[in-house]
């Protein structure tokens, strides 16, 4: 089968983000960018499926500025076959992303779309579910294990309090959780090979889709700082604070 893996270029998880002084967002200029770690797990899973003979072709998709090509190349160096960049300078929100992906799914006809459960920048956790809804496909979110049996996908999901197993019809949209796998390091010769793999660039405008934002970002601020601690005098007071003020027990 063919697998489509949508990936997002995000601020590297090691970077301590800085909120812009004009409160319009987070500083992303001249900040180290990397593939969203959950998407990296998705790429890894697709490659493992290919190595196991379950998948034939892996197509990487990213939506964003032209530097997203670098992120796609990383996925190609990991082992994916080709890439598609839907190029735009605009911020594209999950619903619009899902619409673009739906368009590409119709063109590419994959049996499986696998992507990260959320991007570590906006933490939305929506794209996979939105896409599954738009396509009318089954959805296997927060996956920690995939097994293909008799035209169906047996998928283990990480849910609050434990694990849940579902059987999904194919084609399906799967979103990855942390424990699904540990992505490989890229091998040096594969970086060279990735340079020669096919990477198509499609201007987003040329798709004729409604990609306008429906959620307006009014402002972005720093989180409140840890307040200077207080001293408590008794066990009762401590328990009361933990229960009713901090709400952690």
């Amino acid at each position: 089968m063919k697998i489509l893996v949508p990936i997002k270029r995000v601020v590297d998880y090691n970077v301590k983000v800085r909120v812009k002084s004009d409160q319009t967002g987070v500083e992303t200029a001249n900040v180290k960018m990397s593939m969203n770690p959950f998407d990296e797990i998705a790429v890894e899973e697709a490659i493992r499926l290919q190595e196991a003979g379950t998948a034939e072709e892996i197509v990487i998709v990213s939506i964003g500025i032209k530097q997203c090509q670098e992120t796609i190349r990383t996925a190609l160096a990991m082992g994916a076959d080709r890439g598609i960049l839907v190029e735009t300078e605009e911020e594209v929100q999950p619903l619009a992303v899902a619409k673009i992906l739906k368009h590409l799914v119709e063109k590419e006809s994959p049996q499986l779309v696998i992507t990260g459960k959320q991007a570590i920048d906006d933490d939305n956790n929506q794209t996979g579910q939105l896409l599954a809804a738009l396509l009318g496909w089954s959805q296997g979110t927060f996956a920690s294990k995939l097994e293909f049996t008799d035209d169906r996908l047996k998928l283990t999901r990480e849910v609050d309090g434990g694990l849940e197993t579902v059987s999904l019809s194919l084609p399906s949209v799967v979103t990855t959780d942390l424990r699904l796998n540990e992505p490989r390091f890229v091998k040096l010769p594969n970086i060279m090979k990735a340079k020669k793999k096919q990477l198509d660039i499609i201007p987003m405008d040329s798709l004729g889709l409604d990609t306008t934002s429906r959620v307006k970002i009014l402002k972005v601020e720093d989180p409140p700082q840890r307040e200077a601690g207080i001293k408590v005098d008794s066990v009762e007071e401590l328990i009361d604070k933990l229960k009713n003020e901090a709400k952690v027990i």
Partner: protein
């Protein structure tokens, strides 16, 4: 036109987080309806009916909804969505799974994991793992929102008397998804790096035997047990208990430091914890500089008392 809250339950017990979602709903509009979709879930319907502030309970019993699978549940919610201005659920793994699918069916941009409601269309939500806070405004006519349960109080489970209405299942015979089973985590002590609560002991514990009072407190809180390097070096506990620069880095919701002075190497391993409690005899111990709640006291006095009182 009111707010619809999607209840989360296992057909027997209502998830507490639904009560937080009801409170969020009531902040938007006094008219809050709750959808209970399931199979043989009459008990849940009844308990939702009693929740303070809930005006109406929509009950939909059908085998399709027995396991709350997103594929069928989303269709049902979408089919009744036009009666509401907002559709809310707790941002649990269930809520996060289902609500965006509903949004996709309705061509709505969902809003995830909000921590505050500023107006009917304006919400606050953390981004970048809480390192920035965004205020966002929805431009859709129906707002589909998941709420972070810990930031909204739970509605009182009693005191309400909602109207209970039975609704038809949404005609949805697709075989997209089947439930096969679940495996819930046993109640063994959680793993240090992923535990929601960590209780750690330091050199102040004095001996390996004394660490039992840490363990007793940890068990009461369903917490993992950690230790400072000093305690590990003194042989009170094994190496893999060590929290700190050269040990494990943890960031639980609650970190309880007992008899730990707070050497910088230790702080490096736990300073990102959400709430830090420090119990130490020494008033000058640096741990108090990072603790939200500090208690200057003899730990052998206070910790057993704490365990008992919880």
């Amino acid at each position: 036109m009111g707010v619809l809250v999607v209840a989360e339950h296992d057909n027997e017990v209502l998830q507490e987080s639904t009560l937080n979602a009801v409170t969020a709903g009531l902040e938007i509009n006094a008219e809050v309806s709750v959808l209970v979709a399931g199979q043989n879930c009459g008990g849940v319907v009844d308990s939702v009916g009693k929740v303070a502030g809930v005006s109406k309970v929509l009950s939909c019993e059908h085998e399709l909804y027995e396991h709350q699978l997103a594929e069928s549940l989303a269709g049902l919610i979408a089919s009744i969505a036009s009666d509401y201005t907002h559709i809310l659920a707790a941002a649990t793994s269930q809520g996060k799974n289902v609500l965006p699918r509903v949004a996709g069916l309705l061509d709505v941009a969902p809003i995830s994991d909000i921590t505050d409601i500023q107006s009917a269309d304006t919400f606050v939500r953390p981004i970048y793992a809480g390192n920035a806070i965004a205020t966002v405004q929805s431009e859709d006519t129906i707002k589909i929102v998941t709420i972070r349960p810990t930031t909204f109080d739970a509605a009182a489970a009693d005191g309400g008397s909602a109207e209970i209405v039975s609704i038809d299942p949404h005609d949805d015979k697709q075989d997209l998804s089947q439930f096969m089973g679940q495996e819930l985590t046993q109640s063994d002590r959680p793993e240090l790096t992923s535990a929601r609560i960590v209780v750690s002991g330091g050199r102040g514990m004095g001996s390996s035997e004394n660490f039992q009072i840490i363990e007793a407190l940890a068990d009461k809180l369903n917490a993992a047990v950690g230790a400072s390097r000093a305690a590990v070096d003194a042989g009170y506990v094994p190496n893999d208990y060590q929290v700190g620069q050269t040990g494990k880095v943890v960031a639980p919701d609650l970190y309880v430091a007992v008899g730990i002075s707070g050497a910088i190497q230790h702080l490096a391993g736990m300073k990102d914890s959400k709430v830090i409690v420090a119990i130490n005899k020494d008033e000058e111990a640096p741990i108090f500089q990072v603790a939200d709640y500090g208690m200057v006291a003899d730990l052998f006095d206070v910790v057993p008392k704490l365990t008992e009182s919880l």
